[in-house]
Every structure is written in C-alpha cells, then in structure tokens.
Amino acid sequence: MNLKRYFSIYAALWKNSVTRETMFKGNFLLWIIVECLWFGLQLTFISVLYLHTDNIGSWTKWQVVMLVGASHFIQQIFQAFFLVNCTNLSELVRTGKLDFLMLLPINTRFIVSFRQVDLGAFVNAVSGVAVITYAAHRLHFVPAIPHIFAFLGLCIAGILIHYSLMFLLATISFWTVRAQGIVWGYYNLFNIARLPDDAFQGVFRYVFTFAIPMLLVSNVPARVLTNKLEHFYSILLLLGMAAACFAISEIGWRASLRRYTSASS
C-alpha cells in the first residue's frame, strides 16, 4: 500500500519533468549534443593513448573503450535520476524551501532525491550502450545472458555509490552554505571511474577502492562484461561498499537534518 503510494507520487514527478523538458525543446537537444561531444572526447583520449601503447596494465584498447562506455552509461543513469536533485539540495537549504518539502506527508529524503528527472540523460545512456556493443563486437565477444544481468546489477550498485557519496556531500550544505562547490568537485571524481584500475597503485589505489570506491564503480562491471574478472571477491566488495556508502549517507543526512534551522525570511 505504502509502496504503491510512493510509486504514484514518483509517476507525478515524472510527468512534471516531462512537461518541463517540453517547454525548452531546443535546449534539450543542445544538452544531448554537449554530452555526446564530451563522450567523444573521452574516446578520442583513449584512442590517442593507444596510438602509443598496446596495453595499460592488462587492459587492451577495446576493453578500455568498453570501460569508458560502461562508465558513461553508469554516469548518465545516475545523472538522469539524481544529479540535479543532489546539486539543488544546497539551494533548498539556503533559501529555506526545504521547509515545504519537510511538511509533505512523505519521506523527506525520498522527495529531495527524486524531485526531478533529467530525461536527456536517458538518451545519452543509449550512446554508452552503443559504444559497449561496438567494443564487444571488436573484441569478438558475445556476452551471455547471465553476464548482462550481472553487469546491470553491478551498475545499480555503482549508481548507488555515486548517489550516496554525492548526497552525503550535499548535506554539508546544512553546515556551510557554500557546499555547491564541493558537490561539483565530486563530479570531477567521475574522471577516475573511467580509467583502468590496473594503472593505480599504493595509497591512491587504496583510497579510491576502500574509502571513495571510484575504482570499483565501473571497473568491476566492465570486467564482468569482458570476462576479465580476476577475483570473485571484487564483486562482493562493490556490493558491500555500495551498502556501506548508502548507510553512511543516511546517518549523515539524519545528523545534518537535526541542524536545519530554516532561513530567516
């Protein structure tokens, strides 16, 4: 019953987002072009690197292309559901608009996290899938159905990590109003997620695996899809880190909410 109510609320939010997008059709298309350009840029970077080498660690060219595609897919789905909502949180706190959302008879985190949907990002996610498919073709590799399901499941875990960490950073805005810069700073870390994990060593690798698990988010799904998973435990690690990140972000959210004093109007 409760779940059904949340579904109908979310359906209404979707309808709102569709209406919003149809108001600025030209802009909608331009943003898709922008995202395609940046995606092309990353692929160009990879091709230039592979002009000068055959391997990065154990990763061959088309495996890395697949990794970049998977990373783009995960990032775009994250963007579709969560990015705008995370970056807007500091604005809600600064202007005191959060009051109205807290008064609604639903879970506040739910409404804050799901308020807007970025429809263009779904279109961009398709370009990620296209690149993954082409890379699989170049690798002469036909993934089996279980592979694909495992890949999608791990993508969800990756998206959960991105969402939890970015949401946690966004709650900093309860403590200082200038949190928006930090939230965008996290966006920089997406750059790491699409690089092959073999390249990293030492403290850097440790930090970005166990503290901020950027090197798991898309590397593990891509490894599953290209059949180059070395240890089964990295799957468990990704799932475990996703659960841990979500739990920590919930604790952070509750602690921050207690500090909320609204804005003097």
Binding site: I33, L37, L51, D54, R178, G185, A199, F200
Partner: protein, 271 residues
Amino acid sequence: MKKYRHVLNIGIQNSLTYRFNFLARSLFGLIPLMAMIFVWRTIYRGNADTKGTLMVGAYTFAEMVSYYLLTTIVDALTAVNEDDWQIAADIKDGNISQFLLKPIDYLWYRFCLFLSGRVTYLAVAVVPLAIFISCLHNYFVPPHDLAALGLFLFSVMLTAMLQFFMSYTMAMLAFWVLEVSTFIFILFAFEYLASGHLFPLDILPAWLERALYFTPFPYQLYFPISIYMGKTTGNELIHGLIIQFGWVCATYALARFAWNRGIKKYESVGG
C-alpha cells in the same frame, strides 16, 4: 585608470569570500591530475617492458609529468572561472543598463574582475600546488633556458587575454539566446581537446597537429608550455607569438563587435 584599480580591489575582496570554494576546487583538481600521471606511468612501464622504449612521441616520462603540471599552472593563471556565466547573467537580468550610464567600460570592468579572480585563486591554490609539485620535483623539468622562461610568461599573459576575450564573446550570445551554457560547454569541449588539456598536441598524428594550429585553441594552453619546454624555438617561436597576438586582437575585435550589435538589440527590446 584609477577607477579600474578600484574595480580590481573590489574584485579581489569579493572573490576572497569564495576562498574556501577555490581551495576545494584546487584540491579536487589535483586528483584527476594524479590519476593522469598514474596512467602515463603505467604506459611508460609497459612500453619499456614490451618495446624497450622509454619515450612516448618526443617525451620522456619526466617531461610528460612536467607537461601536465604545467597545464595546471597555466590553467590557474589564465582559466576563466565563472566570468562568462556572470556576464551572461548580467545581460539577461538587465544589470548592464547601469554601465551604459556610467563612465566605465563594461569590457574592461569585467577584465579587471577576471584578473582579480585569477590573483585570488592563485593566492589560495599556490600552497597545495607547490606542495604537490615539490613532491614530484624529481619529475619537474626546469625551463629550457632563461629566455624561454621569460617568453613563456609573456605568452601566458597573451593566453589569459585570449581566454578572457573568447569567453566574453561567447557570453555576448546572451543578447540573442536564453540559455548560453550549452554553447559555452560546446566550445569548452573543443578547447579541452585542441588546446592540449588532455594530452600534449605533438603526440597526435602530424597532420592533425598542423590542422589544429589553424585554430586559436593551441594558443590557449599548449603553445606557452611548448615554449617553456624548449619545443618551440627560434623563428617558429617568433611566428607563434605573432599569431597568438593576432588571435588576441581578433577576439578582442569580435568581442567589441558582438557587444555593439547586442546593445542595439538590447535597446530595441529594453523597457
């Protein structure tokens, strides 16, 4: 001139309130930089093992690391921060009306704010950047010679002007379209690749590198660094500086032209 000095002063005080943001930005910026160095290290090691070569294009590993460190330095000195967004917002919100009445030129006013933003950013970012570079000092090659260092700094100055005039021109689009951010991002994408942010341009196939030199992009980052590293010397250097100066003049003229056209449109709509 005195009034512009005041603008500089106010600009510095304004951007000082963002010092925390600047610090966060420069710290976060170091992470992708580190990642890039790791990736190149893996490539150099792999090449040494399989091909027995220690070079990528004309770069040793130390030179490659220096290249990326220099891009960070030049970026800190010249990158446009939020100036283009603010200019576009000023036009959209009608804030520029007051500048039409005041005896102050909007372009130079914004240029002063841009400079003060850079000065403040540099003051904040210099500490983390210096620590980072000193950790990597084994890989940081000194300038080719003293003249190269001087010409590098001169070229960086031109780069800053080129960056600003280009962004200013882009922001002028706000006279005609509601949302300029998409256009700014499209230009930025080309700039990111063609100016040498992602990799030094001379590791590209030669024909592509030559083609890029017909655009202003290499002069926004790659060119000054190539002077520092002694990759551009002699006649080529003089030529390059003249072309860079030409691009500065051209973008300045374009910025003025776009403003004049925009103002006509603005007045005809203005209420």
